[in-house]
């Protein structure tokens, strides 16, 4: 019997070594990190100013011999500043994951190494599993760098610091991001492996990216009247709750379609989950993880099923003999 973990680990480690020496991946990761950091640093500067202003007011109050309770103590949520980082992962991270998936397939086909690997004592599914695990590992490491740098910037830069629960929330957002980008990696890998010309696979993958990552979430957002006015339409017009419900009932069909478009996109599920966990969406700011989990476990489950389902599909589909090389 073939030593299953050994073959999978050998291929996954080889992929990691190749990826570490891949200039494109290095530059792309640096670009992602830089883009994420720019928005984060801009946010932390603003928050630091707010924290300093509060500290100064506190000092002045105490100097005047007054009680601290005479000014409302503000609450600072540094994790809300992760919005830009999550949005970069959503869009730019997805592009990098797609290309990494494409390269994972095209490298083996173009170099004839796929045929060499498949004439070694291992089953074909082990090769596929190794490529997916290698991709997940690569995504995981890149995201560890992005999230830990972000955490460091928040800790040092915001002036508000991060608690244990904040770190746990970051870890959960990291896990969600790994699932999301691994799923996207698998799409790029599978299409580039399955289609006759791997370049066509990449083109189809980009078309899917356009629909799933960019268009569907945007269409859903644009069709939401609450997104057209700051603070929401009903709030701005001061419409009472009962009236709001009556108006919404008249648009039930419209809302079903709008929400359907949104939730057809894995990106939206990822966004809903991470925005809630990190408290970026106001509704969830300051809520406990238990409350958020009760509300968002559907999104978490969707992400999990998306990635595992795609991975399973790749494992179940045999490698076609006429896909061993790029030329065929």
């Amino acid at each position: 019997m073939p030593r299953i973990p050994s073959a999978i680990v050998t291929i996954a480690l080889k992929d990691a070594r190749v990826a570490l020496r891949d200039r494109f991946l290095l530059v792309a990761t640096l670009a992602l990190g830089t883009a994420a950091l720019i928005s984060l640093i801009a946010g932390t500067i603003a928050m630091r100013t707010d924290v300093a202003t509060y500290a100064l007011a506190k000092e002045q109050l105490l100097a005047l011999g007054k009680e601290l309770s005479s000014i409302a103590a503000p609450e600072f949520y540094p994790l809300k500043l992760m919005r830009g980082t999550i949005e970069q992962i959503e869009i730019m991270g997805a592009v990098i994951a797609l290309i990494a998936g494409y390269r994972a397939a095209v490298e083996e086909r173009g170099r004839q190494t796929l045929a060499l690997i498949l004439t070694r004592p291992l089953n074909n599914w082990q090769f596929l599993a190794a490529k997916i695990i290698g991709g997940a590992g690569l995504v995981g490491v890149v995201l560890v760098v992005v999230f830990s740098t972000s955490a460091l910037v928040l800790m040092i830069g915001s002036g508000a610091g991060l608690g244990i629960e904040d770190l746990l929330r970051l870890a959960l957002a990291w896990a969600g991001s790994v699932l999301y980008l691994t799923g996207i990696f698998v799409v790029g890998f599978a299409l580039s492996l399955w289609l006759k010309a791997p370049a066509s696979g990449l083109l189809y993958a980009f078309a899917l990216w356009l629909v799933v990552v960019l268009v569907a979430p945007q269409v859903g957002d644009t069709l939401d009247p609450d997104n057209q006015v700051v603070g929401g339409v009903f709030a701005q017009l001061a419409v009472p709750k009962a009236e709001q419900d009556r108006i919404k009932a008249g648009f039930a069909g419209y809302e079903t379609v709008r929400n359907g478009i949104e939730i057809s996109s894995v990106t939206k599920h990822y966004e809903r989950l991470t925005f809630a966990v990190l408290g970026i969406k106001d509704t969830y700011t300051g809520k406990t993880l238990g409350v958020i989990w009760a509300d968002k476990r559907g999104d978490a489950l969707f992400l999990l099923l998306f990635t595992l389902g795609l991975g399973g599909l790749v494992l179940l589909r045999p490698i076609q003999p006429n896909r061993l090389t790029k030329e065929n």
Binding site: M1, V18, E107, P121
Partner: protein, 248 residues
């Protein structure tokens, strides 16, 4: 000949892609220790045959026994026994020669992978390339590393697909010498080629494939006896392979 003495045997082995028959039922016995030259024009079905024998392709019908293993039923066991060098193999540019070889040695699950890699590099005289990444290698250097990965796990049968393609005369000579040394150590060599001169110099038996059909199979001495020496193979080849008009 008893099956124990055969390295490769096929019974009505065929391969079809839809309506197109890439390989008509093939019956072939290759004894252990042979250097078998498989001749044929481009598109004759030589690569398809190698892919069937190396388990990369599943046959449409028939069976193949390679190194005592059924190519359909004992895939993993068969793969332990074979080495394969495809045409135009490039390996991993980002890895050094040693890293490439260690990867394939580990994948082959041999116990002494590290020592064996050093041994093979010495055998193929590529130690000076050990720590260099393949990105800058010439075709000839890549071919040597490719050959090293094909023998690193001590296979009993080595499949070479157009191994001299794109090599300069020095490279061709080096390859021929290596093949002869491997064969002298008992390895069976199955070599696809369209170079008659290579077959004449190295092979102990030949087969000629034309449009997916085996049209000739005999020992090289028999060919020489029948057609003379120098131009023997060329004459044989032209006599058994139909021209374009005939094929059409």
């Amino acid at each position: 000949m008893s099956e124990a003495k055969l390295a490769i045997t096929t019974h009505n082995l065929s391969c079809r892609y839809g309506e197109f028959t890439a390989l008509h039922p093939l019956n072939l016995d290759i004894p252990k220790g042979e250097i078998f030259g498989f001749l044929g024009h481009n598109g004759a079905g030589k690569t398809t045959t190698i892919r069937l024998l190396t388990t990369l392709l599943e046959p449409s019908s028939g069976e193949a026994i390679v190194a005592g293993c059924d190519a359909r039923r004992n895939v993993v066991q068969l793969r332990r026994q074979i080495g394969y060098l495809p045409e135009n193999v490039r390996l991993y540019d980002a890895l050094s020669t040693r890293e490439n070889l260690r990867f394939f040695a580990s994948l082959s699950q041999i116990d002494d992978a590290r020592e064996r890699v050093e041994e093979v590099m010495d055998f193929l005289q590529i130690r000076d390339l050990a720590d260099r990444r393949l990105g800058t290698f010439s075709k000839g250097m890549r071919q040597r590393v490719g050959l090293a990965q094909a023998i690193v796990h001590r296979p009993s049968i080595l499949f070479l697909d157009e191994p001299t393609s794109g090599l300069d005369p020095m490279g061709v000579r080096m390859l021929r010498e290596v093949i002869e040394r491997l064969n002298a150590d008992g390895m069976t060599i199955f070599m696809n080629t369209h170079l008659l001169s290579e077959v004449a110099r190295s092979c102990s038996s030949i087969g000629v494939l034309s449009h997916g059909q085996l049209v000739f199979h005999d020992r090289i001495e028999a060919v020489s006896a029948r057609y003379g020496d120098e131009a023997a193979l060329e004459e044989l080849y032209l006599s058994v392979v139909p021209g374009r008009e005939d094929a059409a």
